[in-house]
């Protein structure tokens, strides 16, 4: 059971702890600076904060004492772009060989001490084998000619936001790209295959709607207890695979909406997952001004709409893809929103406590 939450916001990293009087903000680091992502290494509790400084670029910080002190470490850095090389995305937009955003961080398996993965905008995947002291671009993926089909979505340039390391085999990694589909390596990143068969892109002309290379999974969540089950909150729906990304099935009639960004899966129940919906891609606000969480316990056949304790009138909180988390017990969930709200549940979402409604806009939430 986790009693602490780290919240990455536009104006710093806030620590929220559970005390005798409930959950409350108990501290802040990097106050005034944009923290785009926070990662907690499940192997040893090391914290990583990805900063997005408006003028001075992306920076990565590490804390080995639970956030008491932070050290700046190397950030994923692209190699020198070869002279004369043309590199454009599917829209024809020039791809900068520069880490514009650190959009995902993941730890390797227990058998890979020091291994970290980092996903970036404009789409490069990096790995580190020294806990972030140094990084190397995964060139097998970056140099794959199919990358030229990737394209920007809401973020202008393609980006790699989901990295799922298979707990059965650390060399098997599933990644999600907006917009570039789902990719799987079985050999620790040496080779890659796109696995988005069954996904559907409503934003493309009909003939290209099932093209796996332009799918826009907003976030992937691999079940820790059955890693062949992977959930995808996609740009135009919710999809699920039960065969290790071999095929994806779209869930139908999800109310109040199947649009959103985050998804989390229960640590021991692969059929149980949570989402935070919004109206639709062109209207990114809660349906009817009511903030709700949706939960399925049967693999997506039916959904509960959870609203107890959440604002139900004129509420316009949007929850980004890294801003929903579940703790290792599977009972506690937390999510933070673009309007600076933070909500916590201790009963799998049946009811929610309001921790704050006036934090800076929230990008990421993680239990530790």
């Amino acid at each position: 059971m986790s009693d602490r939450i780290h919240v990455a916001t536009r104006k710093g990293v806030f620590t929220v702890t559970r005390g005798a009087d409930g959950w409350a903000v108990s501290g802040v680091d990097f106050l005034g600076d944009h923290a785009g992502l926070i990662h907690v290494d499940p192997r040893d509790g090391t914290l990583f904060a990805a900063m997005a400084l408006g003028h001075f670029g992306v920076k990565l910080h590490r804390s080995r004492d639970g956030g008491k002190s932070w050290d700046e470490i190397a950030k994923p850095t692209y190699p020198e772009k070869p002279e004369g090389l043309e590199d454009k995305d599917g829209w024809g937009k020039e791809i900068p060989w520069n880490t514009e955003v650190i959009w995902s961080l993941a730890s390797g398996g227990a058998d890979q001490p020091g291994r970290l993965w980092a996903g970036t905008i404009p789409g490069g995947l990096f790995k580190s084998d020294d806990a972030g002291d140094s990084w190397a671009l995964v060139e097998s993926l970056w140099n794959d000619p199919r990358r030229a089909k990737w394209m920007g979505g809401g973020m202008d340039l393609p980006g790699l936001h989901s990295i799922c390391v298979d707990p059965r085999d650390s060399g098997r990694v599933v990644i999600g790209v907006s917009c570039g589909g789902v990719w799987v390596t079985e050999d620790d990143g040496a080779t890659w295959e796109v696995r988005a068969e069954g996904m559907r892109a409503a934003y493309m002309p009909p003939d290209d709607a099932d093209n796996p290379l332009i799918q826009d999974p907003h976030q992937l969540a691999m079940s820790p207890s059955d890693p062949d089950v992977v959930w995808a909150q996609h740009h135009n729906g919710i999809f699920r695979s039960v065969d290790g990304c071999g095929h994806w099935t779209e869930l139908q009639d999800v109310q109040p909406s199947s649009f959103g960004f985050p998804v989390v899966v229960h640590p021991r129940e692969p059929d149980t997952a949570w989402f935070v919906p919004a109206v639709k891609d062109e209207c990114r606000i809660p349906v009817d001004g009511k903030v709700v969480v949706t939960r399925t316990r049967d693999g997506g056949k039916t959904f509960d709409v959870l609203s107890k304790g959440l604002p139900q009138t004129f509420a316009y909180d949007l929850t980004f893809r890294h801003a929903l988390d579940i703790d290792s017990s599977g009972d506690r969930l937390a999510f933070g929103t673009t309007t600076g709200s933070l909500f916590v549940s201790e009963d799998q979402g049946d009811s929610w406590q309001v921790v704050s409604t006036h934090l800076p806009p929230v990008d990421a939430v993680r239990f530790s």
Binding site: G32, D33, H55, F56, K59, E72, E80, K81, W97
Partner: protein
């Protein structure tokens, strides 16, 4: 010696004291500073070694136009100011 001055706004993140260095181009002068302060490089230049989008560089009072090669020749007594752009906040 070329005088290189950095915006005080950098001090929120790291030390970036004024430096006096040798160098016959903007890049050579900046790289001479970064040789002594390697962390600073990533705050000023992007992954490809160009000036970051929201950083501006002035050489003897003129805003630097070549932000990629940084090949502009500088005099031995030049003054280079590395400033935070108004954009990007």
């Amino acid at each position: 010696m070329v005088r290189v001055v950095f915006t005080p706004n950098l001090r929120r993140h790291l030390e970036a004291p004024e430096a006096a260095v040798s160098g016959d181009t903007v890049r050579a002068a900046l790289e001479a500073v970064f040789a002594d302060n390697p962390r600073l490089r990533d705050y000023v230049l992007d992954d490809q070694g160009a000036v970051r989008k929201h950083v501006t560089v002035y050489v003897d009072g003129e805003r630097l136009a070549d932000r990629t090669a940084l090949a502009l020749a500088v005099a031995a007594d030049a003054e280079i100011y590395v400033m935070q752009a108004l954009s990007g906040g």
